[in-house]
């Protein structure tokens, strides 16, 4: 039975049913009372909403813009012609196979610590792309090792480019300057070079960085003051003498430079010299030194150089190996045999000359008398006395002072006849201007020209111009002092060292005027040596000491010096040097 509250249902009972006081009759309708409604208050639970900010870490973005970054040309622009770009071999043509591309990357120097700064260098485009995108034009395509040199210089604030002579240090420095100026990293650049090379630098700057405005600091003091003050000139060129003279003026004007480049930087190896002090006093952010001979005589030369480049980096108490390690990230040195495998060879030959009978007699007398005098002086003999005797003997090897005879001259004349007949050109080096003049007198028929420190800069430049362009001039007579550095004479196929310099590095510099990039053919180098004379003995000493700089630069153990020391000079005459003349710094004859 289903009983529903409030409804009328018929009883289904057959008998009356009594429940409590209520009687339910059988088969009658039942009326159940409606129960009161039950109302229950229901409070619904409101869901709790929690707002949680999920702070996902955002990547940190460091961006740097490269001024020479290639911009995408507008879509409508015509496809650009590919310029004859340097070192670039990108092939956008769909049909051609891809070429192998060389990329010269700028690596961060070891002393860069901050990650952001490292990124700056690591994310730079390779040099080939930068040069191409910057539409930099060059008179010649740089060699890959020269691009490496630029990649070395550009990121460094302290750098020595110590390439062997003739590998294009100036060009590498100029192109690096060019890129720094274009990127805005350098606005005030000072190039300091020997006086004789100022015109060379202006010429090379015009050739390799034609858009750069260059001012040469020269003339009288008011003019120089004005030139120093020029604000809108990015590159200034001064010679060492001018810089020494204007040291106070530069300080007074409060000049500071983004970059100072020293050419032939071996000039500052002597730390106490005025030249060294003047360049070190310059207010600068970057210091670059260019030299083919960072170590001419001893490792002290390198210490002197680094007093400018990176003061305190090395000191004279360091062992060669430690010194090599300390400077290894700051020095880049390449030699021709390593980087220019295809360069025409340099053929060396020693012409051993027998003195004429008269020369021999004069020589013998001079030596005997000189040695006797030195022996008599005993402990009073100084390095200067020995030096004077050596010079006198060397001069006799060139020309007999009594008769003017010269076995070397006769030999050289025969050689030059052949040079002239073949239409070639020759360089003749001597340490004495007087010797050059005597050679000039004898070699009029070869159209000989002179180039030495006794001539004005204009006269020297004119001599170079005529020697280069006028066929009738087959011979250029140069002094080691003026002609051994900076000149580009690679159109000469013959080099004669009429007498020998004190230091093989200087001789190498002289030879490399001809044997350098651009040399059209083999360069023959003839070194005159008078048999059984002081020249042979000096040569023997220098041969033994020749490799010092290479040893230090390769972090190897090295001897103390490569030039002629006081001991060496006394030993030439089998004399013992007195102790008081043995102090360092002044005992190197080649200095």
């Amino acid at each position: 039975m289903l009983i529903t509250s409030g409804e009328s249902v018929r009883s289904m009972f057959t008998d009356d049913l009594r429940v409590g006081g209520v009687v339910i009759h059988a088969a009658s309708d039942l009326h159940l009372p409606r129960p009161p409604a039950l109302r229950l208050p229901v409070t619904a639970l409101v869901p709790l909403v929690t707002r949680l900010e999920l702070a996902f870490p955002r990547p940190k973005v460091t961006s740097c813009l490269f001024s020479s970054a290639p911009a995408s040309p507008p879509p409508s622009a015509p496809r650009p012609e590919r310029p004859p770009a340097v070192g670039l071999a990108i092939n956008p043509d769909e049909s051609s196979p891809p070429e192998k591309v060389r990329r010269t990357r700028i690596a961060p120097p070891r002393d860069v610590v901050k990650l952001a700064e490292k990124f700056f260098y690591l994310l730079q485009p390779d040099l080939e792309t930068m040069l191409h995108a910057g539409k930099l034009e060059f008179p010649k395509q740089p060699f890959p090792f020269q691009l490496d040199g630029m990649a070395f210089l550009i990121p460094r604030h302290n750098a020595v480019l110590a390439d062997e002579m003739g590998l294009g240090k100036s060009m590498q420095a100029i192109t690096s300057i060019r890129l720094l100026v274009r990127s805005g990293e350098a606005r005030r650049v000072l190039v300091v070079c020997p006086k004789g090379l100022v015109s060379n630098w202006t010429r090379e700057l015009a050739e390799w960085a034609p858009e750069l405005v260059v001012a040469v600091i020269e003339g009288d003091q008011p003019r120089r003051r004005w030139q120093w003050s020029l604000a809108d000139v990015p590159v200034k060129v001064a010679n060492y003498e001018v810089l020494v003279r204007d040291r106070d003026l530069v300080a007074e004007l409060g000049l500071s430079f983004d970059l100072v480049v020293l050419d032939e930087a071996q000039r500052i190896k002597n730390r106490s010299s005025q030249t060294s002090q003047a360049v070190r006093s310059l207010d600068r952010r970057r210091s670059w030194a260019l030299t083919g001979t960072p170590i001419e005589n001893s490792s002290d030369d390198l210490v002197g150089l680094f007093e400018f480049v990176a003061p305190g980096q090395v000191n004279e108490r360091m062992a060669p190996k430690a010194m090599g390690a300390a400077v290894s990230d700051h020095i880049l040195r390449r030699t021709k045999d390593k980087v220019l495998k295809d360069m025409p060879p340099r053929l060396n030959r020693d012409a051993r000359i027998e003195l004429t009978a008269e020369q021999r007699e004069t020589y013998r007398r001079a030596e005997e008398e000189g040695v006797l005098r030195l022996a008599d002086m005993g402990r009073e003999a100084t390095i200067q006395h020995v030096f004077e005797l050596v010079l006198r003997l060397k001069q006799i090897c060139n020309f007999d002072t009594a008769t003017g005879e010269s076995a070397k001259l006769d030999c050289l004349e025969a050689e030059l006849e052949e040079v002239q007949a073949s239409g070639r050109k020759a360089l003749v080096f001597s340490q004495w201007v007087e010797t050059l003049r005597r050679l000039d007198d004898r070699f009029v028929r070869f159209g000989a020209l002179q180039y030495h420190g006794g001539m004005s800069t204009i006269a020297r430049d004119e001599a170079i111009r005529r020697f280069k362009h006028e066929k009738k001039h087959s011979v250029l007579l140069l002094s080691y002092g003026a002609g051994a550095v900076g000149l580009n004479l690679q159109f000469s196929q013959y080099v004669f060292l009429f007498d020998r310099w004190w230091n093989p590095a200087v001789e190498d510099q002289a030879i490399n005027r001809a044997h350098r990039i651009g040399a059209a053919g083999a360069v023959t180098v003839t070194r005159f040596l008078s048999v059984d004379t002081i020249e042979e003995r000096i040569d023997e000493v220098l041969r033994r000491k020749r490799d010092l700089s290479e040893m230090i630069l390769s972090q190897a153990e090295a001897p103390a010096a490569s030039g002629l020391t006081a001991e060496d000079l006394f030993a030439l005459f089998r004399l013992a040097p007195p102790q008081r003349s043995m102090h360092r710094g002044s005992d190197t004859a080649a200095a």
């Binding site: 955002r58 990547p59 591309v101 191409h132």
Partner: protein, 122 residues
Amino acid sequence: MKVTRAQQILYGPTLHGHLHGQQIGGALLAESRIAPSVVLTDHDGMLHVRSHTKLPVALVRPLDGEPGAIGFTVGAAHICPHPNDAADEPVLRERLIALAAAVDLREPFERIRAAIDEAQRH
């Protein structure tokens, strides 16, 4: 980037696209100091950035890689535009061929990897 547990839970199987497309790609585009006209990537995952930019996006592959059925070749690179940008392919091709006259399109990725290596060594 270090993925958080919350990201893992919330994004589940779409986490990869979220990280590359929004977190990394979106941040790079937002911070860019020059206005790009196209986004190139050599990483498949970065194609997700297309959902967060109106710029055309394309994948750069080396030619010696797996040949793609779609796309075109520029220099030593094969370019696969994002499917959304298939219609823009002719414009993209024109721009990239012009750019490739100065730049190997694969080269910048080498620099980026070198920088990442350096950062991880740091």
